[in-house]
Structure formats: C-alpha cells, structure tokens
C-alpha cells in the first residue's frame, strides 16, 4: 500500500502504533480508573467464589433452571427484535427529523431509563392490564396480555428500547448526513440510502445498541414481576427464578446468577469483537 500518511487507513494504523504517545491521559486517572474497574469486577469474582463447583452442573440444569433460561433467551431475543423494529425508526426520526417538540419527544422516549422498573411494570399494567387503557378493549377482542409470555416481552421491550434508541441516535448524529446527501445525489431513494449507506455506517452503534437492549431485556426483573407475574416456563425468566431460588436455595441462586453473567459476557464480547474490526 502506498497511501500517504494522510489517509484514513494510515490514521487507523497509527492508533495501534507502538511509537504513538498517549495524549489526553493524566497519570492520576489510572488510580480511580483501577478502583472503578475493581469495583465492577470484584463483586463478580466474589460471586464466583460462592459457587459450589461440584453441584454446579446439577443446579443450572434443573428443570426449573432450564425452563427459566430457555424462556429468558427466547423472550430477550424477541424483545431485541421488537426493539430493532421500533427503535431504529425512532432513532432515525429523532436524529434526522425536523419538527417541533423533538427534544420533548426524546425526553419521553428515554423515561424508562430513569423509571424504577417496578414503576414501569405498574405503568404497563395501567396500559395493557385488564382494566388498562388498551387492555380493556384488548380483553373484549379476546387478547389477554397479563400473565402471558407476551407480557414478559412487552415489559422487556419497554425497558430495553431506550438503550437501543439512545445508542443509535448518538451514532446517527455523529455520522452526520453528508454520506446520505451524496448517496441521494447518485440516485438512491431514502429507503435505499438507509439500507445501503446510513445503517452500515452506524453499524458499531447499531450493534452496541442491540447488545445493550438484549442485555437489559435479559436482566429485566422489576417490570416483569409487577406486570407479567411469575410462572415456570411462561413468565418466570432467569432473574425471577434467581430471586425465587434465593428464598430456599441460595446456592442455586448464585449458580444461576453466574450463568446470567456468563451469557452477558459472551454476548457483549462476541459483538464487541465484530463491531470493531
């Protein structure tokens, strides 16, 4: 390659150049950064020390644990797809739309981020519950949401959606619209531009947003227990199972917690690797 030093390839190589000096990094930052890292990692290690390895396999493969794991993965996957289907257009509208009240709309979309999940569950009950805003007419139409797996998916989507929207919207904003303008001038319609230019360009943001949404859906507890109930194989996801097991069998709770952490680590590491080639 004979690219001069000004090309993007050269710049990217430069970030991994051993000769490069780390700029903008005060030395004192290492200490609080290390404390912060330890603060996050230490509880996970402590959790690991509580695991009884001899009985581990039995604990995580018990019928109730398997049912909870399968339900969690299924619902989190469906919720993530729903988040993508709704969240990608939301992020585009928020990032690219020119209309009054956009900032207010963004604030509302992000409310589930600050809402205690239990309150989210109450709000969902008020919407989709039997006596809820929509639930009443849904009940008439023969649709029952409460106590169903659908309710779990709704609860997970509710809390996970803002993660995808906020992450993707940020990427869209920093990507700007210059590539989109060029693509349109080459004859590509808005949908083609979105599919072939905009989304591929924000792929890292889209991926990390999707992972965040999946992780949040997988860990959802408060809204689910309030809105969906808890029944093995139907609504009792892994976090609910962990919380229930803690009552009688703390070892099982710890074993399942570790399983949840392992899933999260695998998912995040897997996609992070692909997001930054």
């Amino acid at each position: 390659m004979t690219a001069p030093a000004t090309t993007r390839a050269a710049r990217r190589r430069a970030t991994r150049d051993p000769a490069e000096v780390a700029a903008g990094l005060p030395r004192w930052a290492f200490l609080p950064a290390a404390v912060g890292g330890l603060f996050v990692v230490l509880p996970l290690i402590a959790l690991g020390t509580r695991v009884d390895l001899t009985g581990y396999w039995g604990l995580v493969t018990s019928e109730s644990a398997r049912a909870a794991l399968v339900l969690s993965l299924r619902t989190a996957a469906v919720s993530t797809l729903l988040c993508l289907g709704l969240g990608v257009p939301m992020a585009i509208v928020l990032a690219r739309g020119r209309f009054r009240g956009r900032n207010l709309l963004r604030a509302f979309v992000l409310v589930p981020l600050v809402l205690p999940p239990v309150v989210g569950g109450v709000a969902l009950l008020a919407t989709f519950g039997r006596r809820g805003l929509l639930g009443e007419s849904m009940e008439v139409a023969g649709l029952q949401v409460a106590f169903s797996t659908t309710a779990v998916v709704i609860a997970q989507t509710f809390v996970a959606l803002p993660f995808l929207v906020i992450s993707l919207e940020g990427s869209l904003r920093s990507a700007g619209t210059r590539y989109d303008v060029v693509a349109a001038s080459l004859g590509a319609g808005p949908t083609t531009v979105l599919r072939r230019v905009t989304l591929p360009l924000v792929r890292p943001g889209l991926l990390s947003g999707t992972v965040l949404a999946f992780a949040r859906a997988l860990g959802e507890f408060g809204a689910t227990i309030t809105f969906a109930g808890s029944l093995q194989g139907v609504t009792r996801t892994l976090p609910l199972e962990i919380y229930l097991q803690r009552e009688t069998d703390p070892d099982a709770a710890v074993a399942l917690s570790l399983l949840l952490v392992a899933i999260a680590v695998v998912v995040i590491a897997g996609t992070h690797h692909r997001a930054t080639p």
């Binding site: 009950l125 106590f147 309030t226 109930g229 808890s230 609504t235 803690r246 009552e247």
Partner: protein, 258 residues
C-alpha cells in the same frame, strides 16, 4: 442495603427494599446515639404495621430508647443475620426460618407471638363469584398464589394438598404483596394470601374465609439475638410484644393468637 427503615416506612417500601437487598451488609448504627440507646429489631414484612405500633409504645415507655425497625422477607433478614447484621431482636413469619438461626446458635429460644392463616382474596364485588376453596380450581379463573419456595406458598401447597385439589394458577408470585397487588389491580380474579393481608388492604379487596385454611396455620416466633450488647433491653422488647397490649395490636391487624 439492609432493610433498616424509619418506622413509618410503608409495606410497599419494604417490598422495594427487599427487592434490592443483596448479600452485602451495610453497617447500621446500633448502640448509643445522642445519649440514648438504639434497639434494632428485624421483623418479617407482614409484621410491619404491628411492630411500628408496638415500637412506638415501647419508645413512649422508654424515652431514651430509639427502636429501629428492619423489615423484609423473613429469609432475607435471616440471611443478613447470618452475615453478621447487628440486630438485637428478630421476628420471623415462619418457624423454619427461625429454626435455622436456632441451629446456628444465633438466637435465643424463640417464643411464638402470633398465628396467621390463609384467606382467599378477590377484587371488590368478587366478579368471578368465588365462595370456597374448590372454586379456585375452576378452569378459566385467573388465580394468583405464592410460589411454593416462599412461606405463603408452602402454606398454600399444604392447604390445597390437604383438600385434595389441584390448582392451575396463572402466576406463582414471590411474595404475598405481589399476590395482593395483582388482585387489587384487577388482573387476577382471586388470590391466596394471609388473613392479615386482607385486613391491611381494606376496601381495595374482599376476603373469602374458607374452612380448609386450618390445615396450614403459620406461626410467628420472636427471639433475641445471641450476643447482643443490650440483652436486657432486647428481652424487654420481646416482653412488650408478648404483653396484652402487644397481642391486642396484633389481633387488631388480623393476627390470630399462637
């Protein structure tokens, strides 16, 4: 976060605290504050209102004592005591949890303070027309009960098994509060909770007594923590709970005598 709350904390708050309670035990202040003495009492969530009243009366009689009430699920509190939480008195919602602490030598000999039985709870007006335990087995009825893993669920299993019924609940909740919440919200047609819970919920629900509940009566034991620096004061609090005034407070809230 250990569930040490101001005495006036509501049961809902207690449930939230229970939800976030972790293995981590924060040191909470015991001993002497402002020249007075602090007594830390851990009590099962269902005892919240009764113990708030009893503690208030106790403080009136002992002006230099500040009673701190920690309320959460019995097993959560027991786990915290096992981890060394600085409690002086512990009141559990079931004997088995207390027995574990006795076996560990962490508490003195427990004494029973109250009993509680199950009652059917339905939304106001009883839309599904539930009048007996057998009605709960009707197909199509949206029934919510406690999960077998928690004490109220164990009681449910005992009662239902004794009656020879098989129930098909739409949800097996983590706590009585969650069962009650589903019924007050109108999501469930019926639930099984304790008599005291129905009494506490007031007009929001109706209760349906049933005779089979006698098969599983829950007993609430109380004990002082071994090694408390204030054994005399702890004993005094236990006596206050067991006194006629204490029993009257419990009875007012729907508890039966042990």
């Amino acid at each position: 976060m250990t569930a040490v709350l101001p005495r006036r904390a509501r049961a809902a708050g207690a449930a939230l605290v229970a939800a976030s309670a972790a293995v981590v035990v924060t040191a909470c202040s015991t001993g002497t504050t402002d020249g007075g003495t602090t007594l830390t009492v851990y009590a099962a969530a269902s005892l919240t209102e009764a113990f708030e009243q009893i503690a208030a009366d106790f403080e009136t009689e002992h002006p230099d004592v500040d009673v701190r009430l920690g309320v959460a699920g019995s097993s959560t509190l027991a786990a915290q005591i096992q981890q060394g939480a600085p409690a002086d008195v512990f009141a559990s919602a079931d004997t088995s949890t207390m027995d574990e602490l006795v076996a560990d030598g962490l508490v003195s000999t427990p004494q029973d303070i109250a009993a509680n039985a199950l009652e059917i709870v339905v939304p106001p007006g009883n839309p599904a027309g539930v009048s007996a335990l057998a009605d709960l087995a009707e197909p199509g009825l949206r029934l919510v009960v406690c999960a077998p893993e928690v004490p109220c669920g164990a009681a449910t299993t005992a009662v239902v098994g004794h009656a020879g019924l098989t129930l098909h609940p739409v949800s097996e909740e983590q706590s009585v509060t969650d069962v009650l919440g589903k019924v007050t919200a109108g999501e469930a047609d019926a639930g099984l909770v304790y008599v005291t819970d129905v009494a506490r919920a007031g007009d929001q629900v109706e209760g349906v007594m049933f005779r089979e509940s006698a098969a599983a009566v829950n007993t609430y034991p109380i004990a002082t923590i071994t090694g408390t620096p204030r054994p005399a004061l702890a004993d005094e609090f236990v006596d206050a709970v067991l006194s006629d005034d204490g029993r009257a407070v419990l009875a007012d809230l729907g508890f039966a005598a042990p």
